[in-house]
């Protein structure tokens, strides 16, 4: 039956799409185009309700309603997988942000960067200065 093949291919496609990282502009464009397509399909279904029965018969499904249900399930799977991905990406961004805050709060960058050129000792604690200088030296390796 044609429908079995179609559905299996669709499910596999959803799984593979989930593995690939959504790539910025193209991903966004695809999402928008699919929304447009879905809206167009919905409008057409209202105008020509019998079309679904014809398509269902062609692919080997009992009724148009059943076909719609199958389509909905696949669409929902796709939605789940892409949403999971988007959340992962957002989580990654939050992580980088939080890490930056955490590290900067405890170890201000200025302390780790060596002063430009040999600085004349301007009071303070020379021992600490030396330690920092060495630390930065190792940093540059």
């Amino acid at each position: 039956m044609l429908i079995k093949l179609l559905l299996l291919v669709a499910i596999a496609a959803v799984f593979v799409l989930g593995l690939r990282a959504p790539s910025g502009a193209r991903h966004l464009a695809l999402r928008r185009v699919s929304v447009l397509l879905a809206a167009a399909l919905a409008a057409l279904s209202v105008l020509f309700p019998d079309a679904w029965n014809a398509i269902a018969e062609f692919v080997g499904v009992g009724r148009g309603t059943d076909l719609l249900l199958y389509g909905l399930i696949v669409a929902f799977l796709l939605y789940m997988v892409t949403t999971y991905r988007r959340f992962r990406d957002m989580e990654q961004q939050i992580t980088l942000l939080a890490r930056r805050i955490a590290v900067d709060e405890t170890l201000p960058r200025a302390a780790a960067v060596p002063p430009p050129g040999p600085k004349p000792a301007a009071g303070g604690s020379p021992a600490q200065d030396t330690a920092e200088g060495e630390a930065s030296g190792a940093d540059g390796r």
Binding site: A135, S136, A138
Partner: protein
Amino acid sequence: MALQAQQQHDDVCVVVPLFNERTVVGDVVRDLRTAFPLVVVVDDGSTDDSAAVARDAGALVVQHPINLGQGAALQTGIEAALRLGARYVVTFDSDGQHQRTDAEAMVERLRADEADVVFGSRFLDSRTRPGLVKRLVLRAAIVYSNLTTGVHLSDTHNGLRALNRRAASALSIRQNRMAHASEIIEQVGHARLRWVEHPVHILYTDYSRSKGQSVFNAVNILTEMIYR
């Protein structure tokens, strides 16, 4: 004696990820500090006063504003260690299951330039005795990791590791939660770092058992590895 040891290891930074371990973290930090002067504790948004306990014990505490997971805490700690100019970085669990002496021995192997990374392994000798379920889960994880990373370790989920600066710089942990262990191994393999394993003793106390990783985590790790 202690002072001498400290001077020996003043180019080492011990990174301890911390999340709600107030009852044990103080002792862990104090014990580490008898050998390693620089202990960076990454508080992963603990809801108790773990961070203050660690600070009182003499650790440099880096605080995540929100809870992100152990992998994220490790990466933060490693970046802090690099910024502090550490030549060697040790990752060490905060729940007291690792031994300071194992960490010292692992750093010595780095100093001898035996490798860029020393992985702790609880299965190289018979000191550690995990329960049956834990052993099975760990074995499955090891088989999976060896298949997918190309680095063949006898213990893939051990929080005790020692890295030299080159290895620490090569790591970029993106797996915030538990899948980071496999990810580190993967990146070590990818960066073609030299690695060795070192036998370590994991102390399964009632405390660590009560907090231990459940079998469900294996499922979560697998999902995170596939849908990364």
